[in-house]
Amino acid sequence: MRLKTFKIGGVHPPENKITAQEAIKSFPVPSTARVMLHQNLGVASVPIVNKGDEVKVGQVIARQEGFISSFIHAPVSGIVTKIEECVDASGYRKPAIFIEAKGDEWLEGIDTTATLVSEIKATKEEIIRKVTEMGIVGLGGATFPSQVKLMVPEGQKIEYVIINGVECEPYLTSDHRLMLERPHEIMIGIQLLMKATGASKALVGVEANKLDAIELLTNVAREYPGVEVHALKVKYPQGGEKQLIKALTQREVPSGKLPLSVGCVVNNVGTAFAVYEAVQKNKPLIERVVTITGKGLKTPGNFLARIGTSIADLLSYCGYNADHEAKIISGGPMMGKAVTTSDIPMVKGTSGILVLEEGVERVAIEPCIRCGRCTRVCPMGLEPYLLAMASSKKMYDITESHAIMDCIECGSCQYICPAGRPLLDYVRLGKSETGKIMRSRK
């Protein structure tokens, strides 16, 4: 069977899905939760609690500020001890709300049972309102406030809700396990997304290295009209939204535009699940599945953990040996962020923590041999060797005319370069500067 895929570019890093068979375990509630105030793409949230306040699980502790912003809720019940800066995955100190946990008391009105609530009573507006109030953000890693995606502008028609079950990053398996263990909840979540956007069809894309999930979801999808499940060829970055839309619908999102322009809205399976919990169970986003993985860990696995849990606790539970030379990465090895210390708190966007013990030191840098591999693997059809050179020489007219802003920062170019050149590092800098120049013209 010919699997669907995207046409241009792509690489095949070793999959290393070592935790694919590990069922999701509930991680114990942390004794102190450090809840970062900036857990979404866009503007940081503003705290509405003070030192000394008592909070319950699910209570709002920070509110939206501006359009592209989210609510944040208490992941544990207890007392707010301070609102102070702490180091997070960004490598800098950022403000967070510290809560000293006491018991596990949830806010009234949240359905904490495991019963499946299938009947959809909410209207389109209610769904969007609930998604906003419950602080749902894109759980694929981008953490874009979900309500903004669902607010389709007047006159725009959404044909497809695209569900991203691809999980193309090596090592990560949280989406895989969620699809295997909570397929019905995901399907109901998909239906909620369809109702909110007005789409009549949903396409679920799953990479072919998750055949068990594809089989299960295909069977379950029979009960849910309008939902189709498709197996996709294993190729990085299949999970990139533009590549996913191309593979499933053959439509290419035009340069500089959003999926909206081709009638699609893309959401991660984890987000679909969170939307189900928000609308059907009245439960805010206060916990998520995270993969703790790495070949050096004794017992890697997938865990349902509260936001604000210390990564160090999760790692030590999995038998992390701090004496090994390693990189700790929040996310996958292709696009994840290396962190400066393991003592950082989990945030809504933490899909996995990878302890990488091989290839910790980069390969030596050699001159560009103009082999063209970077150009051939770029999924956006760009020329990374040229963009990186122009960025390092600060030639921003060239970066702009050669579409550096189209770069999705997938890392395929730097991965494949035989000369070990830091292509993406320079392209990122060039993108940032070119973006600034373009915005200053307006």
Binding site: V11, P170, I329, V339, P367, R370, D406, Q414, Y415
Partner: protein, 330 residues
């Protein structure tokens, strides 16, 4: 407790390296080398070794003492240039000439532009053409192939098949009588003919080329475009006048077409970056090769064709960009 390491993503890297690519190409040349050493014997072996060592030595000395930077000879690029340089010359070339060739290839054609990755012209070909023009006699005296000669004494020389036919046609001899003087096509394809060390065995080179494609060291675009366009052009001319123009298969298995298309034109540094650019580059090389072979003064045109197209590469890179995602071509 060990210190963590931090750097920008991606945090994994392919196993591939510049050294692996260069080594891969050298491995793919082993079949051709074995055939040549069989037909041309000890002189060929010595010339090849001297060429490789000279290129490496020149690069090392220039990097260490003139450019005052860390020598990078371990990446294998100078060694590969040496191997290809030797493969482009006759096996009875005086040793001192190939040393000069090495100095030109590495010193002028590579290092003066800044080293690996910065040269616009194929270094081995620049060295070869320099030697051809400076030492025309020695560069065009071709030893006849014998079986495994270990002697260093002067071998009997004769023309290459291409040389024989083109000179004969100019003198007015008929195509058929000239072809009869040559071994049959199977023998020619295996390498039983006069020619430079690396170019004689089209079959061995093809084997090596398939290895390169399998290992994904090169892509099919340049070789197919080069050979295809050469065969089509030669084929048309042959149909027009079979008595005056050799048939395309002859062009393929004699001369340096195989070597040029698979190894010289595919040199990464001097070939275009985009797929369309590569195809056009190959077509240009093929057409010019046949033009020189049929209408030019030299019997062989591969080296000049590739060097001319090398000069066009920056234009090709500028004009032909890869297809972008999300941009509709009007």
């Amino acid at each position: 407790m060990s210190m963590l390491t931090i750097s920008g993503s991606p945090h994994v890297h392919t196993d591939d390296s510049v050294q692996k690519i260069m080594t891969g190409v050298m491995i793919s040349l082993i079949p051709a080398a074995l055939v040549s050493f069989y037909f041309f014997g000890l002189p060929a072996i010595i010339l090849t070794l001297v060429s490789i060592l000279s290129c490496v030595a020149v690069e090392y000395l220039i990097q260490r003492f003139i450019m005052k930077e860390k020598p990078s000879v371990t990446d294998g690029s100078a060694a590969l240039t040496g191997l290809l340089l030797a493969f482009n010359v006759p096996s009875n070339l005086p040793i001192w000439m190939i040393v000069i060739g090495a100095m030109v290839s590495i010193g002028i054609a590579k290092m003066s532009f800044g080293g690996l990755g910065k040269n616009p012209f194929n270094p081995a070909l620049v060295g070869r053409v320099f030697m051809l023009i400076s030492f025309p006699v020695q560069m065009t005296s071709w030893p006849k192939p014998t079986e495994l000669s270990m002697s260093l004494s002067d071998a009997i020389t004769g023309p290459t098949p291409l040389g024989l036919v083109s000179e004969g046609l100019k003198k007015g001899e008929s195509m058929d009588s000239l072809m009869n003087q040559l071994p049959d096509y199977i023998n020619l394809a295996m390498g039983n003919m006069g020619g430079s060390i690396g170019e004689v065995s089209a079959l061995a080179l093809l084997l090596g080329g398939l290895y390169l494609l399998y290992k994904k060291i090169i892509t099919w675009h340049i070789p197919v475009a080069f050979i295809g366009s050469a065969l089509v052009f030669a084929g048309i001319m042959h149909l027009v006048n079979p008595d005056h123009y050799m048939d395309p298969l002859f062009h393929l298995i004699t001369g340096g077409l195989m070597l040029g298309a698979l190894y010289m034109a595919t040199d990464m540094v001097t070939s275009p970056m985009s797929v369309i650019g590569m195809l056009l580059f190959g077509v240009g090389c093929g057409v010019i090769t046949i033009l020189i072979r049929l209408f030019g003064a030299y019997p062989e045109g591969v080296s000049f064709a590739i060097l001319i197209m090398n000069a066009v590469v920056p234009l090709l890179n500028k004009a032909f960009k890869p297809g972008r995602f999300g941009v509709v071509k009007k």
